[in-house]
Subunit: 265 residues, 2 copies
């Protein structure tokens, strides 16, 4: 399995601290040594770094760790290969364009027989089940909405429905974004933490590093971090339910669905 | 205007030397201070770096300069903005997927009224005339060939025809690739050099740096570098003609068209 890391914030925020913890799992505290990638949105633009080398020992990850790129939405992934060999094109996150927006996708899990699902406008460059799932999701959205729907919730509901279909093939933990919203779907394991004033300190689990968020933030900052496993010792991490879908913007949950309660919030 | 740099090689080759010369033009020896980008193919995979900051002073460009990423096809661009503000999404090279391949594009020039040209499957994220031209070119290819044509020359001829159409709107110097071939179109200024055994030394024009290619290469290596202006003092740089189109693979010209002689070579 792989590890996911996502961030949604109301001000451009660097993810160096969380990323430092995550990349340890790529060869030091975890076995996810088959590549890694990260995508940072800067408004509509998207900057991504990918490397098929283990993240703990990658010169590119050390550069990203030490160079604070500030972003409101970040998606990162470290890979433990199951489907598809270790190479650059099989490294998440994957990126495609629709409606003049960059869409970014990363997946944890395995999806049995996903490659039988037909694709229309988007086709995988690599050989992973994850990229096929992404291309299927993008093809579905493009076919259903050749133009963006006027009501955002129409799109959100449709993405949620696609996720529940994908989940039926196996394990489908997903981070997904269209540059405005971070879409999170939990199939088996995802958790999140929202940090806001009053800010405290946090200690990484995977390496000896402490940060005092009070020093790094302004009073109105809101930053939500989502990960397959909690990254810090803080007690506030909360687990997603199986089948739970959240739409995040500016660190806040805008909309959510769970298997238990299908009502909009 | 902007500066372009492309490479086609028969073995994975790093472009650190040429790139070191190029980025000087982003704020030191040239005025192209409005961002830069570079894309490296690694087989079907593609790794790209973009930065809206001047290349001569960008931490990302210093990282790329010092970290030898080896590739058979590279496309790089440094920008002097004319259409579109300075921001990440307006930074070349641009990337889209078609037929499960990554297509990369960079442009030097201005294309008057290109934004009136209709797009189908591909839409710009930013506001440059260049990205609109790229999306038009990709839309044309996708519409004409929903599946890749069996005969490669059918595709090459079509790309050439699209380039001649684009050229009618202004200045259209282009580097373009589908991960297998490097497509080069010269509207006003492009030149190239092919290095092969016996290898010599070269001195950059834009900064004090000499390389002895003999030390860096094997006997059978073939490396072609294409740029808007020659990067070294070597006498072997040759200029493209206006309207000339070349298809390169493994450092060699596979096919070419000129306005003067329309015959295939």
């Amino acid at each position: 399995m792989c590890e996911l890391l996502g961030m949604s914030a109301n001000v451009p925020t660097d993810i160096c601290f969380s990323f430092t913890g995550l990349i340890q799992r790529g060869g030091v505290t975890g076995k996810h040594k088959d590549g890694w990638g990260i995508a940072f949105y800067e408004n509509k633009g998207c900057r991504s770094f990918h490397d098929p080398n283990p993240s703990a020992h990658s010169p590119v990850s050390h550069f990203v760790k030490s160079y604070p790129i500030k972003s409101r939405i970040v998606i990162s992934h470290i890979r433990q290969a199951n489907h598809g060999r270790i190479c650059l094109e099989n490294t998440h996150p994957f990126i495609r364009e629709l409606w003049g927006k960059n869409w970014v996708f990363a997946h944890n899990g395995q999806l049995k027989a996903i490659k039988k699902w037909a694709l229309t406008h988007y086709h995988p460059v690599g050989t992973t089940d994850s990229e096929h799932a992404f291309c299927w999701l993008m093809s579905q959205i493009q076919q259903r909405f050749p133009q963006p729907p006027k009501n955002k919730k129409t799109l959100w509901r449709f993405i949620y429905q696609c996720c529940t279909q994908l989940q039926q093939l196996g394990v489908y933990n997903m981070l997904f974004s269209d540059s405005q919203y971070l879409y999170v779907f939990c199939s088996t394991k995802l958790c999140s933490i929202t940090r806001r004033a009053p800010f405290g300190t946090a200690q990484l689990i995977d390496t000896e590093m402490v940060v005092d968020f009070q020093q790094e933030t302004q009073a109105n900052d809101v930053v939500t971090v989502v990960a397959t496993q909690r990254l810090t010792e803080e007690a506030e991490w909360e687990c997603f339910q199986t089948g739970e879908f959240r739409v995040l913007k500016a660190g806040e949950v805008m909309w959510q669905k769970t298997n238990a309660a299908q009502a909009d919030t």
